[in-house]
């Protein structure tokens, strides 16, 4: 469960304060499927970063699973990210020198899991995302859709509660974009909260709950 309470995020641009998020409150329950839409600079990515604990609000509280994350230290936040949050990015952000399976393995390595256990998990993830025959390929040898599937496998290997996807189809053609969305929706059906930031109304409208933002405020939440 996620609860945001009057969150403010202010950036200083020259002498002016720019409100990327202005008094945003939001409640998200387990298993929800949410899309966040809005024009560029409306604060949707900032909101995603705050939910993902990559950024801290200047004001307000963010409670994740009854823990007030705004009180946590950087190190503690990193642990929360590791275990409860998965990220999917527009540019995939795979480590170029590592193979697909090594990229998927990365969160397990950071968590200090034993190599035998890691192997099993990565193997079943590769099967789930139909990447087994691509396991030894490096990112530059994969198609866009395959890269994003590797990224999703990496985001979910720690079995997080929330998957945050920032324009996951922004860099893909229609067909692979659709495939990626379907994979994410399948994950959501298993009970993971899916929050999707997108420009594309076709994709945004597939979500059960649609939030639209303008100028750092929530305009619409249906």
């Amino acid at each position: 469960m996620i609860r945001l309470d009057s969150i403010e995020r202010v950036f200083q641009v020259g002498n002016e304060n720019v409100y990327a998020l202005n008094n945003v409150s939001l409640k998200i329950s387990q298993g929800e499927y949410i899309s966040i839409m809005g024009p560029s600079g409306s604060g949707k990515s900032t909101l995603l970063n705050i939910i993902g604990l990559l950024d801290r609000p200047n004001k307000g509280f963010y409670i994740l699973d009854d823990v007030n994350t705004t009180d946590l230290s950087d190190e503690q936040q990193a642990l929360v990210r590791r275990h409860k949050i998965g990220f999917v990015f527009q540019f995939f952000h795979l480590v170029p020198r590592l193979t697909a399976s090594e990229n998927i393995e990365l969160p397990l390595i950071l968590a200090g899991m034993k190599p035998e256990k890691r192997k099993d998990r990565v193997k079943s993830a590769l099967e789930d995302f139909r990447l087994t025959d691509r396991a030894k390929h490096r990112p530059d040898q994969l198609s866009g859709g395959q890269r994003q599937r590797v990224a999703i496998a990496r985001a979910t290997i720690m079995e997080p509660q929330v998957v945050l996807a920032d324009e996951p189809t922004g860099n893909l053609d229609r067909a692979s974009g659709k495939e990626v969305i379907e994979i994410l929706e399948k994950l959501n059906k298993k009970g993971i909260i899916l929050i999707l930031v997108t420009h594309d109304p076709d994709i945004g409208n597939r979500a059960v709950r649609k939030i639209s933002m303008v100028d750092g405020k929530i305009l619409d939440d249906t």
């Binding site: 970063n49 990559l54 950087d74 190190e75 952000h93 950071l110 200090g112």
Partner: protein, 401 residues
Amino acid sequence: MRAEDILNFSIRASTGYKFRTFLILIAMAIGVASVVVLTSLGEGARQYVTSQFSSLGTNLLIVLPGRSETTGGPPPLLGETPRDLTLDDAIALKRSSAIRLISPISVGSAPVSWKQLEREVIIVGSTSELYEVRHLSMSLGRFLPSGDHRRGEALCVLGNKVKKELFANQSPLGEWVRIGDRRFRVTGVLAKKGQSLGFDMSDVVIIPVASAQSLFNTASLFRVLVQASSREAIPRAREAILKTIRERHDGEDDITIITQDAILSTFDRILNTLTLTVAGIAAISLAVAGILIMNVMLIAVSQRTTEIGLIKAIGATRRQIMHLFLAEAIILSITGAFLGLVVAFGGVLLLTRILPNFPIVIPFWALATAVGISLLTGLVFGVFPAQRAAKLDPVQALSRR
């Protein structure tokens, strides 16, 4: 994160950027190799000088007649002193427990002839102890026999060069040579040995000290070589010599004592300082290598900004990122140091081929310091880039493609 995973990740990261890794390794290797090779040369020079000096004999004290109050000038020669240093003085020195051996020396020059051949040669009058005190060795026969120093037997030992010039390839053993107006029987020939303590030991003839004294018609000695019973006994031996001679010379300190150790330790100090200086200069190249490591690691941090953002997003703590980058810097410097050692050993091997007479040894402390300093530079110069990586703001890091 498990230690082996940190190591593995860092090694993968180093091998992922080959050119950069190659540059760092070269810089580090040059630094370490120059430290090791230069200190080896310095250490070699020190050992060379030390061994040259100790070939004079160990724990040696040299007693000269007369006293020089000032430094400089040659030591006083025969007949310049008010009171001679006599054979009895020398024998009296033997009573001290701090003194193991004494070897009185009397020197003169006389024609030496065998059949039709004659040469003017330096004649050294001494005793059987000279053999041990001066670390002599024989190429033929035996040295002077031990016995009463006051008895002048008609025996002589030829220097290598003298033997060659008088006897060529024949064996001189048992032959009688004429020295001045007396005849001496040859008992042995000295092995080749370098110049030391003023004479060329291959161009002398050694006869018993009493014979020399009667040959040159003098009671005084040129000097007395004294071997102390141990290194620690040298100051005691010195005191004993002064005291004995004072008693025998009516309370006057009219001798000069030179300890070989004093000379040796001065050289030792000079050469040590030299070695350290050279090593210090070489260490600058290690510092340069360290700065290069810092630079290249900083470049690595900015090259891999998105990667750092990503691993932060998937749950890496600041500490973990610090560890990853530090491990990388240290792996690079260890590998560089190792390569440097290989180069250094190769270089030293080459030098020993080129200069076979010069003892070049790699001192262990140089190895340890070179490797230690390279590790330290890796660590010190790795911290700043690693901190920078750890402090990266993930949002900004990930906003780049």
